[in-house]
């Protein structure tokens, strides 16, 4: 343990935290101590954690603001759900089908990230925020006018209504415009979700501490200095952004394969959702992956656990947001925390010495 570098140790704490939560939840579930509400929330939680970590890569490490993360999630969700629906008969093995769906979702979302990134990441300033904001809305609206059906002659496309697809008898509509995709197989499980969280963390943390990651952070901290030492700005920016988009696509795949209906509404894939993910990142601490995970867990669970308060839960949720913000970011709170931790550590050192 001693030989490990500080960053490795820090990363290990993050991995261990996820694994520990997983084990605790598994034990509680097997002994029947977890309510069905919480059980139902486990898979969405995994999706939100991955979203928060992936957005943190853009916001915390790359230092750019993305307001369209739900758009990438939407791309991942719809492409993978489309694949799963088509391949339901061709590939009856759940695991294999889900694995391919994951790859497709991630690839599609990543490709969208590259498409947007190529022109926008060359610019300085807040252009990425503006363009991703628009992207999220565009994707949502495109999905809402898209009709795709399948019969023995192959696929049929339309942007009008499902009647103009002209399907033969026995053909079925797969994407039905605003009604979205219904009947996606429920393949996402908590174990897969946790495994994907670990994979996401592995990708993001390793990128952070790699050569490329250092370059990305150098760009964030001082673009001109980074440019002057010969770092290819657009390349590294694009790298971070497309990885972040692809991971959001993975979260979309988990989300889509957890519910029987998938519709693109402002509620789940709109601006509000993007902001919610951003809230996870900001409250968890920008650039702090562990914080993102914890913030995502708290802020997803909170409104559900407060259900018994009915109308007041929105109010309390808002108050908790403000309290968390103050605790994390206000200078006085930071000062108090530092004082407190110093005292705590002194106490510990003393006891350690006494023990020795």
């Amino acid at each position: 343990m001693k030989k490990m570098s500080k960053t490795t140790k820090d990363n290990m704490i993050t991995y261990l935290m996820v694994i520990l939560i997983f084990i605790v939840v598994q034990i509680l579930t097997s002994t029947g101590n977890v309510s069905s509400l919480l059980q139902g929330l486990l898979v969405p939680l995994c999706a939100y954690i991955i979203l928060a970590v992936s957005l943190n890569l853009t916001v915390g490490i790359l230092g750019e603001l993305s307001l369209g993360h739900a758009g990438f999630m939407c791309v991942g969700a719809f492409t993978s759900a489309f694949f799963s629906k088509c391949a339901m008969e061709a590939i009856p093995v759940t695991g294999l089908r889900y694995f391919i769906a994951l790859l497709i979702g991630a690839a599609a979302a990543g490709a969208c990230g590259i498409l947007i990134g190529i022109p926008v990441l060359r610019l300085k300033g807040d252009y990425l925020a503006i363009v991703t904001l628009a992207f999220g809305e565009i994707i949502k609206n495109i999905v809402n006018v898209l009709f795709i059906g399948k019969d023995e002659n192959g696929f049929h496309f339309s942007t009008k209504d499902s009647l103009s697809l002209g399907l033969e008898d026995g053909g079925k509509v797969i994407i039905n415009g605003p009604q979205g995709i219904t009947g996606t197989p429920k393949d996402s499980t908590f174990i897969i979700g946790v495994a994907l969280i670990l994979v996401t963390l592995f990708i993001v943390l390793n990128l952070m501490h790699s050569r490329s990651g250092r370059a990305i952070m150098a760009i964030r901290d001082n673009r001109i200095a980074a440019e002057s030492v010969g770092i290819n700005i657009t390349k590294y920016k694009l790298m971070a952004f497309s990885i972040s988009a692809a991971l959001a696509g993975v979260a979309g795949v988990i989300y889509a394969h957890n519910l029987a209906t998938l519709t693109a509404q402002p509620k789940n894939f709109g601006y509000n959702m993007s902001i919610m993910i951003l809230v996870f990142v900001v409250l968890g601490g920008i650039g702090n992956m562990r914080g993102s995970i914890i913030a995502a867990i708290i802020l997803t669970l909170l409104p559900e656990l407060l259900r018994s308060l009915s109308d007041y839960r929105m109010l309390i949720y808002a108050v908790v947001l403000i309290v968390m913000m103050l605790f994390n970011w206000s200078p006085k709170a930071i000062e108090w925390r530092e004082k407190f931790s110093a005292k705590f550590r002194r106490g510990k050192n003393k006891s350690a010495k006494e023990a020795a």
Binding site: D161, P178, G183, Q265, L305, R307, S310
Partner: protein
């Protein structure tokens, strides 16, 4: 650097504690409830209901909540179901499939025997999937999409979308109301597109022609002049409006403004148009729509329901409230017919109720002699209502 690490460690601990605290209070409240339930275990029927009471679709969820509460109150005053009192718990789903599943799980933890819900279609399909896996009985008051009742444990009170479109087209064709028909529909709404598509399909078999089909979306539902102009240019004698009354009132106003006066024909969502604030009821004269429920009907049951509802909530009930009211009575009838007791598990209750649903017949506010088929669809005839002199009049 060390300092920062310690700080972050404490932060994590604090956050984890908040989390634990959250869990703690949750399990506390859970055990409280369990204790409550324990003290009267087996003495109360628990009916869960899910619908939006916040967000854009809140109007529908509120109406269902009120209608269901009214019915439960009446049942309890009359001695409950087979002598057992009924408890209703209503959970908000914000018209979101994910939240609806969470709401369903909350109700499951509470020990729900049967579910009245959900109110809107997309969440209903998602909940239906979970309810089927658990074998929980569900009766949706107003989930109109076909997939809502795709499993044998699910039933509905309202008409399905395709059925309304089909019946509308049949009615227009058989009565010879018009030869040239235009349709305006909300392409972002499941309900509206569902009816529209079935209407177009059936129109092929009928003696009229669809001369214009114009769509609008939820983002642009205030200006209909373009759609109306196209319908007018195409020489439409009848305009089919399969959407809700708030938008329809605007359509009627704008049509009057451009001196376009075809027959307007709507579906059950049109019910309530006379109550729109600031709406000139003269504009609605001769408007026809299909509805299972009219608050002005002289039927005794309906009169009593409307009076009680107005007393309790200060507004005239719409069809959502009526569907929910009938839904609770249907659950009551099925529970009695299936000889369900409150100490049975939800799965056993479901098995008994889904058999019983096929045998019961209730005289509700949306239909007389309402029965259900194994497919989950209710068998009731839609009525066509025409507005005359600022009031609803049943044509047949």
């Amino acid at each position: 650097m060390k300092m920062k690490k310690a700080v972050s460690a404490i932060l994590v601990a604090a956050m984890a504690m908040t989390l634990m605290a959250g869990c703690g209070s949750k399990s506390d409240s859970g055990s409280d409830k369990a204790a409550d339930a324990g003290s009267e275990s087996g003495s109360v029927f628990k009916i869960g209901a899910i619908g939006p009471v916040t967000g854009g679709a809140a109007v529908y969820g509120e109406a269902v909540k009120n209608g269901a509460e009214l019915a439960v109150k009446e049942i309890n005053e009359a001695g409950g179901i087979g002598g057992t009192q009924v408890e209703l718990k209503y959970e908000d789903d914000e018209h979101d499939a994910e939240k609806a599943v969470n709401a369903y799980n909350t109700l499951k933890d509470w020990g729900m025997h049967a579910l009245l819900g959900t109110v809107t279609s997309a969440p209903c399909v998602a909940v239906g999937e979970v309810a089927q896996a658990d074998n929980t009985f569900m009766l949706t008051p107003s989930g109109t999409a076909v997939e809502c009742v795709q499993y044998d444990n699910a039933f509905r009170v309202c008409f399905s979308d395709p059925m309304q479109g089909l019946e509308s087209a049949k009615y227009i064709g058989e009565k010879g109301l018009a030869k040239k028909v235009a349709a305006i529909y909300d392409s972002s709404d499941v309900y509206s597109t569902g009816i529209y598509e079935a209407f177009v399909k059936e129109a092929e078999n009928q003696d009229f022609e669809i001369v214009a089909a114009e769509a609008f979306t939820a983002e642009a539902k205030t200006d209909f002049s373009v759609q109306l102009q196209k319908a007018k240019d195409a020489g439409a004698e009848l305009v089919f409006l399969p959407f809700y009354y708030t938008e329809a009132s605007l359509v009627l106003k704008q049509a009057a403004g451009m001196k376009f006066s075809p027959i307007f024909f709507g579906c059950d969502g049109m019910d309530g148009i006379l109550a729109v604030e600031g709406f000139d009821v003269d504009l609605a004269n001769n408007l026809m729509f299909m509805s299972p429920f009219t608050p002005t009907s002289e039927d005794e049951t309906i009169q009593k329901f409307v009076k009680d509802y107005e007393e309790a909530y200060g507004q005239t009930p719409n069809q959502f409230a009526a569907d929910a009211y009938d839904g609770v009575y249907a659950i009551k009838a099925a529970m009695e017919a299936g000889e369900v007791t409150a100490d049975m598990s939800p799965s056993d209750v479901c098995d008994a109720m889904k058999e019983a649903m096929l045998e019961i017949s209730i005289d509700g506010v949306t239909a007389k002699g309402l029965t259900w088929e194994a497919s989950g669809e209710p068998s009731k005839e839609p009525m066509v209502v025409k507005i005359e002199n600022g009031d609803y009049a049943v044509v047949e």
